[in-house]
């Protein structure tokens, strides 16, 4: 099922327009919005009292409006306050922020349901997020996913470093296996060592083991 009642808390009115248009296109009947967190919280509260609660909250993280007294200043605060009133509400964060630590904190600590980064495909991704949510799935847009998984970086652990080092010293796979067995380093079967090496080759885009060793040593990793 697609949702019928969604609340949008978004700093810039102009952005709301684009979003509202997209949401309407998706066939969502009631879309309410606010530029201020305090106001948003009040409206959500009222809907709960009236037995007509919102099903989804789409929130930005930054609110820069300068007038009026503000108790709630950020999307993070708004989300925690809303969840106190209505714990079952689905939350999508829609923000320009793509920092890993912030996304992680929202997904892990605040248990939001989806994170979408604004950008070229932002609105399309927002649609994807709503669809995923309606199927009871969590969702992060590709940009957020890349940031979360840190796919672009490879952290060599001690095992891999040791492996590369031994290869650089001319050890054969069988010899490495024996040495690891002696030193109680696991995994130490020839097969698992072979798997580890081929995984490293993939990561480095190296076609042969000597190339892998050369790259690793020239990058100062061993």
């Amino acid at each position: 099922m697609i949702y019928s009642k969604i609340f949008v808390a978004e700093d810039l009115d102009s952005n709301n327009l684009g979003m509202v248009a997209t949401l309407k296109k998706m066939g969502i009947a009631t879309i309410e919005q606010s530029q201020f967190c305090d106001n948003a919280l009040l409206k959500i509260k009222k809907a709960v009292i009236d037995f007509e609660p919102f099903e989804v909250l789409i929130s930005d993280l930054c609110f820069n409006a300068t007038h009026g007294k503000k108790n709630i200043r950020s999307g993070q605060e708004l989300i925690s306050e809303v969840k106190k009133i209505q714990p079952n509400i689905k939350v999508i964060v829609f923000s320009v922020e793509d920092k890993q630590s912030i996304i992680e904190s929202l997904m892990e600590d605040q248990q939001i349901d989806a994170y979408v980064c604004k950008g070229l495909n932002g609105l399309k991704e927002l649609e994807n997020a709503i669809e995923a949510l309606s199927k009871n799935k969590k969702y992060t847009c590709p940009v957020a996913t890349a940031s979360l998984q840190q796919k672009n970086i490879l952290e060599l652990d001690i095992y891999e470093q040791k492996l590369l080092e031994l290869l650089a010293h001319g050890y054969k796979q069988s010899e490495i296996s024996e040495l690891f067995k002696k030193k109680l380093i696991t995994p130490n079967s020839v097969r698992s060592i072979e798997t580890s090496i081929s995984k490293l080759k993939d990561s480095f885009n190296a076609s042969t083991t000597p190339q892998l060793v050369y790259m690793a040593s020239s990058l100062g990793l061993i």
Partner: protein, 600 residues
């Protein structure tokens, strides 16, 4: 006329001096005849005369004599007073030996009055005059005095300590030359008595037996009798049933009677009373009464009371009347208290004078010391003040710098947010506008505009990222990895090595930020210019240094022609503030290696 007067005075003066000499001779004669009353009378005249002549030696001597004659007449209070005056004169004259000797006599009087702690205090005062001098005999007397006072108060261990000092002096062949050989048996006798009191009978018996063979003792009936009594008592204490003690004690008494030593007879009688106390009450009472008679002869209330302490229970057990003794006890006790009080009073003022003298000296010393201390204090205060001012100026300067830095930091953050949130949102809005109006996107122009907007959007984000806040706490490691990750993509692989959880713990927050910004700069540079596909960034620790190695496989730079742009200039500046160093290594087309190093 003036001359005449002065001649008169001179004549009078010489007359006085002559009278002094003749009187002196007369008194000596009278004293030898033991006519002490008369001797005292004439000595007063000498005292008056010498006071008129302001002859301090004669004054001191007169007081000394008056004290001695009074003591012979058992007038303890008067004796004490004159000893005290004599002491003061000698002390003023700087004759420390005589001063000490007079104090010692005073201590002896106090002991006779049963005021043992007072006696000890006076003896300790006496010690101050002769301590650290070579007047060993006087020192020994004082030590013995102190030991006896302790012994009388039953502090036998303390007593043994003091008398041992005497033994140390006697044992030293050089020191003992200064001591009258005739005195040595008396010291040993005291040692023996203290050992007896301590229950070390074998040792004290050995001492007494040796003394009885000493030629000096053998030539002195009085001391022979005394030592015999002491040996008898000790043997009896060691073994109440022995056969020798009775004979020794009786012989001791007889010996003392022979030399007519009253105080010796008291002691011998008291010993015999103790000896017969359990064996024969009547005999015991007989000797006790004898002791009392002698004590009364001496007009010594302390001795009277001591003997009464023996007589009263004896009479009680024998069922005799106690009326007389009770009366005597109370009068003696009263008179003893009275004399004690009076002597104490003399002693107190004496003590005050004495203390005042030493105190004055001490005050003088303290004042000079204080002046010097003050000088040092002022100097120290001046140095501290200068240091403080220096520190405050330095601190203020640093604070200003810090405040400035903080302000720029805040401003940077504000701009960063503005670019990120506002500009980013605005561009995003434009993109949505185009996308919404052209669905599906077919217009090539619209697509181009959209792509252009996207790159502007990304640039805006990159600019803002340079100034976002950084977690310098526990999450610094992850923050750093996220930074590296954000520069990687499908075309650029960034590789690093895993670090221990506590790797960054000891690095200061400031250095953490600096390192973050430096890596950011290097990586931005990399994406812009290097065309690299692989980047290795590794961190290692050596002693107290952190070493960071950046390697890429890009086109590299030619150091000779390389122009350090704004960004790399920033890197240098930052490293300078970290007291770190940086080294670029590159050949065209061979990639770039950057090594940087800083102290934790």
């Amino acid at each position: 006329m003036f001359q005449k007067v002065s001649i008169d005075t001179l004549q009078k003066y010489s007359q006085d001096s002559i009278r002094l000499v003749t009187l002196d001779k007369k008194i000596k004669r009278i004293a030898r005849a033991k006519q002490y009353d008369s001797a005292i009378f004439h000595t007063y005249r000498i005292l008056k005369l010498s006071e008129r002549l302001s002859d301090s030696t004669a004054i001191a001597k007169s007081h000394y004599r008056l004290a001695y004659y009074n003591l012979q007449m058992h007038k303890l209070k008067e004796a004490y007073l004159h000893y005290n005056n004599a002491y003061k004169c000698f002390a003023q004259m700087g004759d420390s030996l005589a001063a000490s000797a007079r104090l010692c006599s005073m201590a002896r009087i106090q002991k006779r009055l049963g005021d043992f702690s007072g006696s000890r205090l006076t003896a300790l005062d006496a010690l101050r005059y002769v301590e650290n001098t070579s007047h060993y005999e006087e020192i020994c007397n004082v030590y013995e005095m102190i030991a006896v006072s302790h012994s009388e108060q039953k502090n036998y261990n303390e007593a043994l300590k003091w008398i041992s000092r005497v033994r140390v002096i006697i044992a030293n062949s050089i020191f003992s030359k200064k001591i009258n050989v005739k005195e040595i048996p008396s010291y040993n006798n005291t040692v023996g008595l203290i050992l007896t009191n301590l229950g070390r009978y074998n040792e004290s018996i050995a001492i007494f037996e040796a003394l009885l063979k000493d030629s000096i003792v053998l030539n002195n009936e009085g001391s022979y009798a005394m030592i015999l009594s002491n040996l008898g008592l000790t043997k009896w204490k060691a073994d109440p049933e022995n056969q020798e003690s009775e004979k020794m004690l009786l012989e001791g008494l007889a010996g003392r009677q022979k030399v007519n030593s009253v105080s010796g007879q008291i002691a011998a009688n008291v010993f015999l009373t103790k000896y017969y106390y359990k064996k024969n009450k009547k005999k015991a009472l007989h000797y006790a009464l004898d002791a009392l008679e002698n004590s009364e002869k001496l007009k010594n209330p302390a001795a009277i009371m001591e003997t009464l302490d023996l007589i009263i229970p004896l009479k009680k057990e024998l069922g005799l009347s106690l009326k007389e003794e009770a009366l005597l006890y109370s009068t003696s006790s009263n008179s003893l208290d009275e004399v004690k009080q009076k002597v104490r009073r003399i002693y107190a003022t004496n003590k005050y004078d004495h203390d005042k003298l030493t105190k004055d000296n001490l005050i003088l010393k303290a004042e000079t010391a204080k002046e010097e201390a003050q000088k040092t204090f002022y100097l120290a205060a001046l140095i501290i003040a200068i240091l403080c001012i220096g520190y405050v100026v330095y601190y203020k300067n640093q604070q200003k710098k810090r405040e400035k830095l903080e302000e720029t930091h805040k401003a940077e953050m504000r701009f960063s947010r503005k670019i990120h949130d506002e500009l980013g949102n605005d561009i995003f809005y434009l993109m949505t506008q185009i996308q919404n109006k052209n669905t599906p996107l077919k217009d090539m122009e619209a697509v181009n505009v959209l792509e252009g907007l996207n790159s502007v959007y990304n640039k805006a984000r990159d600019i803002s990222k340079e100034y976002t806040s950084i977690d310098t706490g526990n999450k610094y490691g992850t923050e750093l990895i996220a930074l590296l990750n954000s520069y990687g993509n499908e075309k650029i692989k960034i590789i690093t090595t895993q670090l221990a959880v506590n790797f960054w713990d000891k690095v200061s927050g400031e250095n953490k930020i600096n390192l973050y910004r430096i890596l950011q700069e290097l990586l931005t540079n990399m994406t812009k210019h290097s065309e690299a596909s692989l980047v290795g960034v590794t961190f290692s620790k050596e002693k107290r240094k952190i070493i960071v190695k950046y390697v890429d496989n890009g086109i590299g730079i030619d150091p000779s022609t390389f122009n350090f742009g704004n960004g790399l200039q920033n890197v240098e500046n930052r490293l300078h503030s970290m007291n770190g160093s940086i080294n670029f290594e590159s050949k065209p087309k061979r990639g770039l290696t950057v090594m940087l190093m800083f102290t934790i």
